[in-house]
Symmetry: C2
Subunit: 256 residues, 2 copies
């Protein structure tokens, strides 16, 4: 048995998310089908983590085991011939069977993109949330800095989720402006269900004056979901980079 | 009667092109339907020119006449409420009835985008042609400079087109590189049917060695369509800017 590692890029618009679900088509399922087409055998594909329905990825890491003898770097090309245009395998290699996409991942970097201005740009409509109301960059940046460090993020998890350990560390949390595009970049050792989207929704509600400026601190100290903001829409969110002890998608791909 | 001028942005993927056709849905038709929804009356919409099926626009100019009393700048917002997400009106104003989107247009600026590298980026798949084979930037740039000036572009027009005057002036014709994206920018006083796509196809065939380096000069002197290259695919092409004597979409929008 050989273990093959993949880096996948996808536009999540058409999918129920990374993980196979009964209610629609998942990215994982499309890649598993392509593996079956290439190798002749169904193999379970393990991703670095789930992405929600409609969320995109520039660099999702996954692995599967196979007896197929194809040179490891050729899997990317072979799988792409069976994949739809909104999913691409950018890289493939062979790794020791001690590697696990999910258990070995140390940090993840997500980006949430917002387009401002009176009319939504048609070319950004699938990958950036359009916000018509004015945004105060300094208010957003101050709110973002509140997330830095180790906190109990229970208030920033979708109700109904059953995760026991909800303490996570955030190493980077910053907004940048690029014309009328705003990007929120966040890097942490792990993210709870819907966590980035609730973090963004909270900052947007603080910006709009619908939540007080100390909401993030209060949500940390009380763990009350109701003190955080609404979940921001999925389509603005992209998994940008996954970092392992000896492997970083940014190094491999030459871009975040 | 008032004359209303619009600047429209669209992703052409889902349309048979700008102009209304019997075989599918056109951008012009969608905007005319929105005008009817807003004003209660069907009005003919005139664009600065046609774009082919699958071609995009960052700034298409159009006008229509109406008796509706809405403030001119509000038409953009009102029409967008009836338009699908892949068509946006970015700007609207009132103009004298001596203005005509097509007859008054002096110059147009098109961009053709190509992505290189082994795997097509999913986020560029609708707006850039993916070319796997290596491209020689200097060969492309030299070929592009051959188009500059006034020439008879009959060889760069789709066969079957019946345009009589096929002389056009090209003011700007240049490739730029942005990572693994290549952009070809061309500005001229007018373009024949499929002309930009045949110009690009010819440069790509010269680059690949399938056409000799003097092909463009020979195509000009002989007007033989067969001496130029194949028509490059539509989805890499975008109408970027339309320039009038007293009006430039770049000035209005603050971007090309």
């Amino acid at each position: 048995m050989r273990r093959i590692r993949l880096i996948a890029e996808y536009e999540g618009t058409a999918y129920v998310g990374w993980q196979t679900q009964p209610n629609g088509i998942a990215v994982q399922q499309k890649i598993e089908e392509a593996i079956e087409n290439v190798t002749g055998t169904r193999s379970a594909l393990h991703g670095s983590g789930r992405t929600d329905s409609g969320v995109h990825a520039l660099a999702q890491v996954a692995h599967f085991d196979t007896t197929a003898r194809m040179p490891a770097d050729k899997f990317a090309f072979a799988l792409n011939t069976f994949l739809p245009g909104d999913i691409r395998i950018l890289y493939s290699d062979e790794v020791p069977d001690t590697f696990h996409s999910r258990f070995c991942a140390k940090r993840k970097h997500y980006r949430y993109s917002i387009q401002t201005g009176p009319h939504a740009d048609v070319f950004l409509r699938r990958t950036a949330l359009h916000v018509h109301a004015p945004l105060d960059f300094d208010v957003l940046q101050n709110a973002a800095s509140e997330y830095l460090g180790e906190h109990d993020f229970r208030a920033f998890m979708s109700t109904g989720s059953t995760m026991e350990n909800t303490v996570r560390s955030i190493y980077f949390s910053e907004w940048t402006m690029d014309g009328n595009l705003l990007h929120y970049d966040v890097c942490g050792n792990g993210f709870l269900y819907n966590m980035v989207r609730i973090m963004v929704g909270t900052m947007l509600e603080i910006n709009a004056g619908r939540l007080p400026k100390d909401s993030i601190r209060n949500a940390f100290s009380t763990s009350e979901r109701s003190l955080a903001g609404a979940t921001a829409p999925a389509h603005g969110l992209t998994l940008l980079r996954v970092i392992y002890p000896d492997f970083d998608t940014k190094e491999i791909l030459g871009r975040p």
